[in-house]
Amino acid sequence: MSDRLEQRVDEWLKLTAQSQEESVPRAFHEALVRMLENLPERDGRVPVKPRQPFSRSKKYLLAAASAAVIVTGLAAGTYVSPTFAEWIKSFFTRPELDKGWQAAAQQGFSQLPQAAVTDQGITLKVMEVLADTKRLIFTYSLEKTDGTPLDPTSIFQKETYGRYTDYYIKDRNNFYLTDEKGNVVSESITYGLLSGQKVTQSFRSVTPHDGRFADVSFYLKPNVAPKQIYLNILLKKVDGVDGTWSLKVPVDLEKSIAATMTVPVNATYTTPSGLVIELEDVTYSPTVTTFRIRSEWTGKALQEMRANHPEYFVDEKRDRLIYHSVHYDVVDETGKVVATTDPAAYQKSGGELFHQEEIDPNDRSRGSISIVSQSFAPLDRNKTYKLVLRGIARTERPMKAWKVNLKDLENQQASFAYKDFRAAITGIRYGEESSILEMEQEVTTMGGDFEVLDEAGNVLPIKEEESKIELGEPESGTMMRRIKVQLPVEGLTQKTQSITLRLRTVSTFDRNVDWQVEIPPRK
């Protein structure tokens, strides 16, 4: 019998004992109450001081006891305690998590560190961890010493968008992953919050469940595969209480490394626009299947770009003009899409087609070469799939300009278009020294970047920190989305007669492609 299973039994017994208010049989209860009612008064009773504020009579006491039992009985009837089967299976097989976590958990890749630290009467427990070389997830709880659970998400600041809630660090609480030497191996991202605050954090998602647990997930940096990593947690404030809850939990990756295999593909295609795309290999890991794709503009395409926009090739390694992303679907033998880079499709799939992208850290040193690893829910290793190229998203610099007579806006909105990009000025809210330009756009991926010029040709500064953008949901298959933008423009006032909008950069989607490549199953 494994220690792990015995640990599971121990945890389940504790949880069951905590969560269940087992009532006694009614006959037992009634017999006990009757018996207590009929206890004889004792002789030689010792006088004691009156208990304040207690003044209940015996009948009241017993009636209250009966009521308590009935209420408890009702509670026991409605509370659904986890069965041992539910408990013993991993936290990460829950359907609200993506298919990758579920698949890895079902194959037994989770670990039970049972790590805990207590300070100020509050205990932080790490219940379960699952990791491979791509990502890590763990479940934790917070509870008082008497077992009362605390909201595990109380240690984060939250921002809610519709039905989604995002979690960000606060109170110097922190989470990150390190290797044996102490190097941070979790990828960090900096987020701009609605409050204007910027936070940098390692974890990608927080998923609360059952009111007393929460999962936190991380992405590991590319090309980092130590045999052991450490989950570092340092909390400085929990439930409004200052303290120190520090845990360093070792996570063994050897088993998941052994279950990981990379299958070379090395299939190449050149788009009519001059982008050479190579599917280098496919890596099957416990939580994801990863496609490694290399792409590079041909010399001819680069020459054309340089000829058209020499001013943007001062530093080729940094120029966004050559940035692009390859978009594709992965279909099974029946033609069903099982993975995609289409954000609309994977958002709507509820975790079924999730997509994670890692840009090779050496990418920038390679000039026009892009190497990305894109991960999806694990594919069946024994089946054959096809990668079907859908198109190339890229950044262009059209530098197109449109003059707008502001008085005309009173009668009709001003519209502009470049390829798939559409924009319209829908209104101006005038201020004394600056005004807000309201625009609606139909864009590919992230849209375009405008400059606003006055009648004399001067660029009017835009207060970026005060600009607002409302992103609509991306449309499935087209890569298009609608956005609303509010641009605060300095120097734009009611005295301004006309402005010129200059489209500096814009995202476009090149659908002129035709490539399918078979993905070999794992041997």
Partner: protein, 180 residues
């Protein structure tokens, strides 16, 4: 320990009947679970608890440390239960309809109860006292009059047996078991 419990225990030792009643009512589930872990039917549990509570009521003034009331009460109850169990060994027990009804109304607890019933008495008692009643290993050693090491050993053995019990039926239950 809850201050109100200690105060009631002191009052009960001093002779206050209402305090004694409050203590016993507060332990109702404990009394049921402990008796049920030794005896085979609810009606036997009623008999055992009534006898034990009466014994305790008459002897409570002898309790030197009121804060140990719960441990003391459980000890008395267990002595009664063991005696009754010994007396009943020659009697063929019929299925208890009361118990079946109880189980039906307590679906959430049936699985645990079934698992515990599959254990030997000393192991079942160890699980009941430790997990369900919250007694520490030290307190259990006092109640059961055995060494703490024995209690630890029984708990470990019980957990292993429970795991085996669950695993033996996994096909029917559809469990997902992960062995590492």
């Amino acid at each position: 320990m809850d201050a109100a419990f200690v105060e009631d225990a002191e009052r009960a030792v001093a002779g206050e009947k209402e305090a004694f009643v409050r203590l016993v009512m507060g332990m109702e589930r404990t009394l049921y679970r402990v008796s049920r872990s030794i005896l085979k039917s609810d009606s036997e549990c009623v008999d055992a608890v009534q006898e034990a509570v009466l014994n305790a009521y008459h002897a409570v003034h002898t309790l030197r440390e009121p804060r140990f009331f719960k441990t003391w009460m459980v000890q008395i109850l267990m002595n009664v239960c063991y005696r009754m169990a010994r007396e009943k060994t020659k009697v063929v027990l019929l299925p208890d309809p009361e118990r079946r009804e109880t189980e039906r109304s307590l679906e959430a607890h049936v699985e645990l109860r079934e698992a515990l019933d599959a254990l030997e008495e000393d192991l079942r008692l160890a699980i009941e006292l430790h997990y369900l009643e919250g007694f520490t290993v030290k307190e259990m050693a006092e109640i059961l009059q055995v060494a703490e090491g024995t209690i630890k050993s029984r708990l470990a053995k019980a957990r292993t047996k429970l795991a085996s019990w669950f695993l033996s039926d996994d096909g029917e239950r559809g469990w997902v078991i992960y062995e590492r």
